[in-house]
C-alpha cells in the first residue's frame, strides 16, 4: 500500500511528465489556450495512459523482456525481443487512441469537435509513449503499480496543462513585449513553473538527503529566488543525479 501511495505522489509532483521530463510538450503548448479544451485533452490523456501502460506492462512482461517467453517452454527462455518494444508499444497506443476517438465522438460530440485534430494526435503525444517507456526502464514490478503509474502520471500531465491554460487566459490582459507574445512567454512561464515543481523533490525523501531545501508550495516563489542566488551545490548535484536516473 505504501509503495502505491509513494508512486502516486512521485509521478504527479516529483516526476511530473511536463515539468521534469518535458513529455507531451507539443500538445501542451498547442491546446492550452483555453481551459475547457485543456481539460478535455487532459482527461483523454489520463484515460489513454491508464489503459496503455498496464497493457504494455503485460506485453513487456510476457513477450518482450529478456527471457519473458519462458512460459512457452524452456526452449524459448533464451529469447530477448526487447528491441521490438517500440513497435508493439506504439501499436497498442494507436489502437487505444482510435478507441477513445470513437467513444468521445459518440458520447460528447462537442468535445470531439473542440479537440479536432489533437485527438488523433494523442497517439503521437510523447507523454503516452514516454509513460510506457519509463514503465519499462524503471522496472515497475506489478500490474497494479503499472496501472497506478499510468493514471498518476496522467493526472500530473492534466494538472500541468490546466495550470498553464489558466495562466494563458489571464496573461491575455497583460502587457507582454511583442516578440515574446504567445509562444515565447509560454515557454518562460513553463520554465518558471518547472523550477517551482523542483521544490517537490524532497517530498518523499523526508528531507534527509536535501535537508532544508524542500519547502512547501506556498513558498515556492521565495525558494525560486533562493535557488537562483545561493543554491547549495549539493542540491544541484542531487537534482542532476535524479535527472540522469530518470
Amino acid at each position: 500500500m505504501l509503495e502505491h501511495i509513494e508512486l502516486f505522489f512521485k509521478s504527479i509532483f516529483i516526476d511530473n511528465m511536463v515539468f521534469a521530463t518535458f513529455l507531451g510538450m507539443c500538445s501542451y503548448l498547442a491546446v492550452s489556450k483555453k481551459v475547457s479544451t485543456a481539460v478535455g485533452l487532459g482527461a483523454a490523456v489520463i484515460f489513454v495512459l491508464a489503459v496503455t501502460v498496464p497493457i504494455n506492462w503485460l506485453l513487456d512482461q510476457y513477450i518482450l523482456r529478456d527471457g519473458a517467453l519462458a512460459w512457452l517452454g524452456p526452449e524459448y527462455a533464451e529469447y530477448d525481443l526487447s528491441f521490438l518494444s517500440f513497435i508493439l508499444f506504439i501499436a497498442t497506443i494507436a489502437t487505444m487512441v482510435q478507441l477513445v476517438e470513437i467513444v468521445v465522438e459518440k458520447f460528447s460530440p462537442s468535445l470531439y469537435n473542440s479537440l479536432g485534430i489533437f485527438l488523433p494526435l494523442i497517439a503521437v503525444n510523447c507523454a503516452i509513449l514516454g509513460g510506457s517507456l519509463f514503465m519499462q526502464s524503471r522496472d515497475i514490478q506489478t500490474l497494479g503499480l503499472a496501472f497506478n503509474y499510468g493514471i498518476s502520471s496522467g493526472i500530473g500531465w492534466f494538472l500541468a496543462i490546466l495550470a498553464i491554460a489558466a495562466i494563458r487566459e489571464k496573461i491575455r490582459y497583460s502587457n507582454v513585449p511583442p516578440p515574446l507574445r504567445g509562444l515565447g512567454i509560454t515557454f518562460i512561464i513553463t520554465g518558471l513553473m518547472a523550477i517551482g515543481f523542483m521544490s517537490f523533490g524532497g517530498m518523499l525523501t523526508g528531507g534527509d538527503e536535501e535537508e532544508g531545501v524542500a519547502s512547501p508550495t506556498t513558498e515556492s516563489a521565495q525558494t525560486l529566488e533562493e535557488n537562483e542566488n545561493n543554491q547549495p551545490v549539493a542540491m544541484i548535484d542531487a537534482e542532476i543525479a535524479n535527472e540522469k536516473e530518470n
Binding site: 515539468f19 521534469a20 521530463t21 518535458f22 513529455l23 507531451g24 510538450m25 507539443c26 503548448l29 498547442a30 528491441f83 521490438l84 518494444s85 517500440f86 513497435i87 506504439i90 501499436a91 494507436a94 488523433p120 494526435l121 497517439a123 503521437v124 503525444n125 510523447c126 503516452i128 509513449l129 514516454g130 517507456l133 519509463f134 526502464s137 496573461i171 491575455r172 507582454v176 513585449p177 511583442p178 516578440p179 515574446l180 507574445r181 504567445g182 509562444l183 515565447g184 512567454i185 509560454t186 515557454f187 518562460i188 513553463t190 520554465g191 518558471l192 518547472a194 523550477i195 523542483m198 535557488n227 537562483e228 543554491q231 544541484i236 537534482e239 542532476i240 535527472e243 540522469k244 530518470n246
Partner: protein, 215 residues
C-alpha cells in the same frame, strides 16, 4: 546551391529560420528540451532525427498512393518505429554510454511531432525527391535550435564544449575562473532549457517582426 532549383532551395532554407519547426511551428519540443544539457547529446539527437525524417519522408512519399487514408497514422507510426529501432540499435552498438544517457528519448523520436507533422503535411502530397529535401530541411531547422540550446547550456553550465574545458579549469582557477567566474549550475537543470528556448524565440521574433503573434 546551383544544383537545386529556387523552389527546392526554399524547402531546405525556410525551416532554418522563418518557418523553424521548433520556434514557429511548435513541433518536436520534448526532445529539444530534455537532452540538451550537453552539446554532444544534442548533436547525436539532431543527426538521428535527420536520418529518421529524411528516410521516413521518402518512404511515406513512395507509399503515398497506396496507403488508405483511414489507417495512415498507424502506417506512419510503423515506418517511424522501424527507423527508430535502427537508430536505437546502432547507438547501442557503437555508443553505448551515450545511448544510456539519451535513455528513452531515442525511443521518443517516434512520437516527435516534427516527423508526423512533415509526413502529414508534405510527404503525403509530394514526390520522393522533394519530400527528401523537405525532410532534410526541417531536420536541420530542428538541429540548429537543438545545438544552439545545447551549446549555451553546456558552456554556461559546466564551462565545457563537447567535454573540452574551454573556459579554463574550475578547480585550479585558470582561464576565466581566475577572474572569479563561477559555473552556473542552474543551466544544467532541465527548466533552464525552456527558458533558453523562450529567449531564442524572443531574439528571433524581435529580429523579424512579421512573426510576432497576436496575444
Amino acid at each position: 546551391m546551383a544544383i537545386l532549383s529556387k523552389k527546392d532551395q526554399r524547402l531546405i532554407l525556410d525551416p532554418l529560420a522563418d518557418d523553424n519547426p521548433i520556434t514557429i511551428q511548435v513541433l518536436g519540443i520534448c526532445s529539444a528540451l530534455a537532452i540538451t544539457a550537453q552539446l554532444k547529446a544534442s548533436i547525436v539527437m539532431a543527426v538521428s532525427v535527420l536520418f529518421v525524417l529524411g528516410v521516413g519522408n521518402v518512404v511515406i512519399s513512395l507509399m503515398r498512393n497506396i496507403i488508405p487514408s483511414k489507417i495512415r497514422i498507424i502506417v506512419q507510426l510503423i515506418v517511424v518505429a522501424t527507423l527508430v529501432i535502427v537508430v536505437d540499435q546502432t547507438l547501442k552498438a557503437f555508443a553505448y554510454e551515450l545511448s544510456k544517457e539519451l535513455s528513452v528519448f531515442v525511443g521518443l523520436i517516434i512520437t516527435n511531432c516534427i516527423i508526423m507533422g512533415r509526413f502529414e503535411a508534405f510527404a503525403l502530397g509530394n514526390g520522393p525527391y522533394r519530400s527528401f529535401l523537405d525532410g532534410i530541411g526541417n531536420a536541420l531547422g530542428y538541429g540548429v535550435i537543438l545545438i544552439a540550446v545545447g551549446f549555451f547550456r553546456e558552456l554556461l553550465g559546466s564551462g565545457t564544449l563537447l567535454g573540452f574545458k574551454v573556459l579554463g579549469d574550475p578547480i585550479e582557477k585558470t582561464g576565466l575562473y581566475a577572474f572569479g567566474y563561477e559555473n552556473n549550475g542552474f543551466m544544467l537543470l532541465s527548466p533552464m532549457a525552456l527558458i533558453v528556448v523562450g529567449l531564442i524565440i524572443w531574439v528571433q521574433r524581435s529580429k523579424n517582426p512579421a512573426l510576432v503573434e497576436e496575444n
